[in-house]
Symmetry: C2
DNA sequence: CGGGATCCAACCGGATACTG
DNA sequence: CAGTATCCGGTTGGATCCCG
């Protein structure tokens, strides 16, 4: 549990919902998380909801409408992940350098 | 790549090596990461070495000796992960609360 | 539209056995 | 001691079909 940090899609999905700044529908989320399959998105959203990071609101309409939104806990988590994410982005070249050296040394 | 953050064992392994503050042998690492299998530890260490987060030094002795140590990049990464880790630890009860509410509501 | 159900390939990680 | 090699069950995630 709380796999939302390590999970392949969770952080990306959360940031998409958070940046939208208003309730977001399933299909719109799927557009923005791009290559995710609908099965994985469903599973990811359920997990996030389960952990209290997003809310899920179903409207009894035809066609159905379901809206997702970030919770305070979710927003707080994103804020806490941000610094690390920025550091990684800033340091990517160092990882790549190390990787290249490693791969090259045994040629 | 740079899966070292999401990976199941990488962070734990890194922190064990870092806290040891001197070169650490394979078997000692395995003792401290407790339940890890030796296969997974080997794979984890190789990945960390590949990303430049730890060093691996092999001594031509019998029996063999291999020593691992944290690199500056590795130490820096741990420092950047620490705040998030602390926040998660501090907030675990909130996740648990959300989880309990979610599980209980559909009974 | 927002899924659920099913099938399937790929991968992960543990257990065990063997080795230089 | 520090791995490598093999097997194997469980999970992940995509693709497809169906449904209210």
């Amino acid at each position: 549990m709380v796999a939302c940090i390590a999970d392949k899609w969770s952080l990306w999905t959360m940031s998409v919902i958070a940046e939208y700044r208003r309730p977001m529908r399933f299909s719109r989320i799927m557009e923005n998380v791009a290559v995710i399959s609908q099965k994985s998105l469903t599973k990811t959203l359920r997990g996030l909801e389960r952990d209290g990071l997003i809310t899920r609101k179903v409207f009894a309409e035809v066609p159905p409408r379901v809206e997702y939104a970030i919770t305070p806990l979710g927003a707080e988590m994103l804020n806490n992940v941000a610094p690390l994410w920025l550091w990684v982005a800033k340091s990517v070249h160092r990882f790549q350098g190390a990787r290249a050296a490693f791969d090259g040394r045994s040629v």
